[in-house]
Amino acid sequence: MRTIGPVLAVTAALLALWYAAVIPMNAQWAQDQARRAGQDLSFSALVADTMSQQRPRLPAPHQVAQELWNSTVVEEMTGRRGFMNTGTLSNRSLVYHGWVTLSATLLGFAIGSVLGIALAVGIVHNRAMDASVMPWAIASQTIPILAIAPMIIVVLNAVGITGLVPKAIISTYLSFFPVVVGMVKGLRAPDQMQLDLMKTYNASGGQVFQKLRWPSAMPYLFASLKVAIAAALVGAIVAELPTGAVAGLGARLLSGSYYGQTVQIWAALIAAAILAASMVAIISALQRLTLRRMGMTA
């Protein structure tokens, strides 16, 4: 709780900066409008206008907040297609689009984590994998995801796989990497003395893994899972762009940019950020819980 003060201070500073940027970014349009109407714009009127345009270049924070509120709570509670009226989520609400993206993110994250851990176990225990897997894993991450995502979607579409799975695969593609890197480091964390000790007990490879390597790797695992889940979300959103998907936060970003709905874009971006922050927070909580049970926090 001691961190709450600094966090609020930084948030306030960012909001102030944002508001300050809104005025010059949107001033041009406001002045053009005024000139066309043959009016003279006072500074206070100018500021008021830049904060309340329909399609601003840079929407003001309160506009984004309003849009977030309208497209979640208001839409679901009172909208014609909202949850209260139909019993299903409205396709105009960010709750619906957020869930579409989240489900792909979680599936991709789960596959990516398991794959990452499996590869790390292989790399640590198998000399051939140690020499061969890591360069490929690194190479896979140097390809821009924007380039490879459409190809994966199209290829999978051609074999009849659509919907959730292709998006999850792109999430997997981004999220396995931090897990591999972190877990290889974590599984190799025990020093030579610890391994020698295990040898004096004539411990089997499985026992060394279960009793020494795996527990040693826990702090590394959680650190890399935090990176991985954020990457998985990026993957799911990127996967929604190239196909012109009709649902998901990516689709909202895309349609927002088609129709110049900057407020909608920003609302979707903020929703994605909130989603990522919540997922990282959940993993942090799991981390604290696990490490405390292991007696690792002083």
């Binding site: 003395m193 020698d196 000790l197 004096t200 007990y201 004539n202 411990a203 026992q207 527990p215 007696g295």
Partner: protein
């Protein structure tokens, strides 16, 4: 005191070990011949690089000799290790931070497949032996360095190995704690009748603890003197002021100096 009839617990003959390093070969052990009888307390003393730790590690099958023979309990070191013939105490306690003290002592028992009830009984017994009863549920970071090292000794004692190999176990501890632990170790040795191999670079420690002191010197690592201690097994701390004690310490110091002259 020594039972000379039974076969030696550890017998090394013409043991050589050469490490290949980037700077050329390093002769860590040269023509080491030594016998250790059951129930002896043998200290290995010498400057760093004299091969004392390497020799201990050869006994434990953690290093492979280049030539020569070594038998542990009449077996090869590998067979002895697989038969879990020895407990090894390293310089650092090396307790798992995620296990309690009891959990740490239990570790070898879990690996060796002791029953749950047996595990608990043994943990209680060895923790009592190192005077750590009541600390079962503490985590390592809640204990002092000396207590951690005692826990690691308990861990090495938990299973029925009749050899205890200790590689500078008290090297990182201060003099006062060390004196206390030395006393406890002698007491523990008397109660358990184990054969102990003990690496140290402290002359008083070696003389105080040992029935046999092996003086080693570096480049190449070799034995320069083997001293059978005339001190009785029962040793109060005051024995360190006796003339016999000072005589042995003197001889050890001479042996160490001799090793350094032909550098």
């Amino acid at each position: 005191m020594r039972d000379t009839v039974t076969a030696p617990v550890i017998a090394a003959k013409d043991l050589n070990l050469t490490f290949q390093t980037g700077d050329g070969p390093v002769h860590a052990l040269k023509d080491v011949t030594l016998e250790i009888a059951k129930g002896e307390f043998v200290s290995f003393i010498g400057p760093s690089g004299c091969g004392k730790t390497t020799f201990l590690r050869v006994i434990a099958d953690l290093e492979q000799p280049t030539s020569g023979t070594i038998r542990v309990n009449g077996m090869s070191p590998e067979a002895a290790r697989k038969a879990r013939a020895y407990g090894y105490v390293f310089q650092a306690a090396g307790l798992y931070p995620w296990r309690t003290i009891a959990g740490n002592v239990k570790l070898p028992l879990e690996i060796m497949g002791y029953s749950r009830a047996d595990q608990a009984a043994r943990v209680d017994k060895v923790l009592e032996l190192v005077e750590l009863s009541g600390f079962q549920r503490k985590f390592p970071w809640q204990l002092s360095g000396g207590m951690q090292q005692r826990a690691s000794i308990a861990r090495a004692l938990a299973f029925d190995a009749d050899i205890l190999l200790m590689d500078e176990p008290f090297g990182a501890l201060d003099e006062i704690v060390r004196d206390r632990l030395n006393e406890q170790l002698l007491d523990l040795w008397a109660r358990t009748e184990k054969t102990i191999g003990f690496v140290t670079h402290s002359i008083p420690e070696a003389v105080y603890l040992s029935t046999k002191i092996v003086v080693m010197s570096p480049r190449p690592g070799r034995i320069t003197d083997i001293i059978d201690s005339p001190l009785p097994r029962e040793r109060p701390l005051e024995i360190r002021d006796s003339p016999e004690f000072i005589d042995i310490a003197h001889r050890v110091r001479e042996g160490l100096r001799a090793g350094h002259i032909d550098d």
